[in-house]
Symmetry: C2
Subunit: 291 residues, 2 copies
């Protein structure tokens, strides 16, 4: 496995590869868990050459967020990627991607202000900026993103469409632990008690799923009222709980009937202690289940 | 010459071409004059396949600017490009490049607020956004830009560097009429009297050049004081006259000595009647001339 810091050398390498085959990229912030590895296995199915990037992107962290303490585990990450047969690990420094003269950014517009964006101003602009750079550096034909960060995936799909990027963005289903909690590098922050409390998220999702299957005609407000109590406790503080209506993640009205929505999707963010956890669930399938 | 509206078909075509050769792009807003044609000839020297785009980009026009009345001459443009052996003319509609869902934009940062940007808020973000899209659609290896729009060229160079775009941005010297007025599609707006007044710009440039050659130790303020009177008359209203200091077009201080600047560059914008004209001149060479 090649390990490269330089954007220029990485670009040269990938452009050379592209002549004879295709390149699939898995962008990560490292501290790799089974969720990341599932993305890498998917990438291996898509293209002959697989590139993984590890970069904790300062541009997508707010001033009071966890950029500095974000978990890093480079040696172990390398072993995992090597064993999966990754061809190139792109591992730039902050200066490699953002030299002093750096000034141009992506602005994702309205979607960047909703859901997580309402609580993390500039976050999705930072994500879109680094992802565009990674797409260019790796000249990738495919890029695999986990549905765990569903708003991020939507932002990247919008970026790709709006800027005519010649990249196929491939979503991959959220990988969950045995207790159904979504895998996340930030789960490393959780105390055993907080980890236990986090299981309320999949429990709430199960209830939402049952509710929608039973009564797809109920309103957004009715459904949210039933599940939000599960997400508030001594260990858990609800940041937001929302249902969006379509592929663009447009907000719904409280009295919108779930069944009438094009693509109802449930989003949640909670704090377990000081750790922020997010998760999401498509409700569309459960409506159809009954119909 | 292929003429295509569709970004998707254009991208497919160009990506196919790229396998066997290289692609050079000349982005234009149409109403082609000898300046544009010089860019096309330069493109022909750079790559086997030459793509010209004609698109009057609404994103780079302010609400009170001349988007609607901007001169269009499609039939004549086609003949000119055909006769130069252009391979593909990309001629999208506004909806082709900006469908209803379009939301992601490029933000060029501080440089977008200086010089022309101070008077045309959002202009360079609009330019950078469409140019990024054109780079992606045409998969170009080279893109040729005239130095007439020097700040635009600088913005595109910054965009290309900051986003790691695999494109070589090629500057081309300003093409001037016999009377040394820079060619511009907007010259079509000028009355004979205004056209005559516009010659004050190259006359002012000649004075600046002589002044700098004679006395490279004079200050920015001293030099500007000498040339600004030439740019104010009944037909001419000066919008701005500035000297920048380096490749990033950073502003100078009034008492900066011209000779001490890394890359002194003179910028001017005037109104001749209701028509806005811009021009620029590198002063670096004239300092060296004497030294």
């Amino acid at each position: 496995m090649l390990i490269l810091n330089s954007p220029e050398v990485t670009q040269e390498t990938c452009v050379r590869w592209k002549i004879e085959s295709q390149v699939a990229l898995v962008p990560t912030m490292g501290c790799l868990h089974e969720g990341h590895l599932a993305l890498v296995r998917r990438a291996k199915e898509l293209a002959l050459k697989v590139v993984v990037s590890i970069f904790v992107n300062p541009l997508q962290f707010g001033p009071n967020e966890d950029f500095k303490k974000y978990p890093r585990a480079f040696e172990e990450d390398c072993k995992k990627l090597e064993s999966l047969g990754v061809d190139l690990l792109f591992y730039p420094t902050v200066k490699d991607l953002y030299p002093e003269s750096f000034a141009t950014k992506v602005s994702v517009g309205e979607i960047g202000h909703r859901l997580c964006g309402a609580f993390r101003p500039g976050h999705f602009d930072g994500v879109a900026t680094v992802v565009l750079k990674l797409f260019e550096v790796t000249a990738c034909d495919f890029a695999v993103f986990g549905e765990k960060d569903f708003q991020q995936l939507t932002v990247i799909q919008q970026l790709t469409r709006d800027f005519n990027l010649p990249v196929c963005v491939v979503p991959y289903p959220t990988v969950r632990a045995k207790d159904q909690v979504a895998l996340s590098s930030r789960n490393n922050y959780l105390s055993p008690k907080e980890r236990e409390a986090a299981t309320q998220i999949p429990i709430a999702f199960k209830l939402a799923q049952e509710e929608v299957t039973q009564n797809p005609r109920q309103t957004v407000e009715e459904l949210l009222k039933k599940i939000s109590p599960l997400l508030t406790s001594q260990e858990l503080k609800l940041q937001y709980l929302e249902i969006t209506q379509n592929r663009e993640l447009l907000a719904t009205q409280p009295n919108d009937c779930i069944q009438s929505l094009i693509l109802p999707h449930l989003f949640v963010a909670v704090y377990a202690g000081t750790t922020r956890l997010i998760d999401n669930l498509s409700l569309k399938g459960f409506i159809y289940e009954k119909a």
